[in-house]
Symmetry: C2
Subunit: 122 residues, 2 copies
């Protein structure tokens, strides 16, 4: 069997009423996912609170995240190439994504470790 | 502590006598790594034969890989946004990378699973 090559910009519909989630690779402990947003934001009052660490890369477009830290809520703006580790259970939400172009994210969710060499923990 | 944001194009020296490997996040079973090539290729006769699955994304630049499949050696050309799963122990090498611009890769190495829902195994 040959090697299956995908492209991060492939298969994106022109009109996106909802965000599009595409699993690119996974096993039981790791999931690599593409997310395409088109001006979407998290619902009012909704916060992600995840069981797994999430490493996220903003591939194209732009976004503003809110992240709950020890000292309060921090807003971070992400531009293409920006990446960030969001440790498990660090609450966060997407405040906004670009209104003028699609925003493509790459997210890697992972667990299965008791140690963590990169990133802070709350 | 605030959230540490990096950028995939950050901290790349102008002159790269060797490829540059930067670990962006890791735990004992997952490693997310940026690789920057500047016309580099694998040494003559060298083949990677890795213990872990590797999901690789070509972020910018271009490259040609050779991959050993059941039917022989397949050459694949990668352009920006192209991604590929290279299962553990699938031998492969980098034949070439762009001579005119730096090639930035994102590689996710992972293991710790007995099952594999994406990608083929040899």
């Amino acid at each position: 069997m040959g090697n299956k090559i995908g492209n991060l910009t492939g298969g994106i519909p022109g009109n996106l009423p909802e965000e599009v989630f595409t699993v690119l690779a996974e096993n039981e402990h790791v999931k690599i996912e593409r997310v395409v947003s088109d001006g979407h934001a998290s619902p009012e009052g909704f916060w992600y609170d995840q069981e797994q660490d999430e490493w996220v890369l903003l591939v194209s477009g732009s976004a503003v995240l809110s992240i709950v830290n020890e000292t309060g809520i921090e807003q971070v703006e992400l531009m293409p190439g920006d990446h960030l580790l969001i440790p498990a259970h660090r609450r966060h939400r997407v405040e906004s994504t670009s209104a003028t172009e699609k925003t493509v994210w790459l997210a890697v969710f992972y667990s299965c470790s008791s140690t963590q060499s990169t990133g802070s923990t709350v």
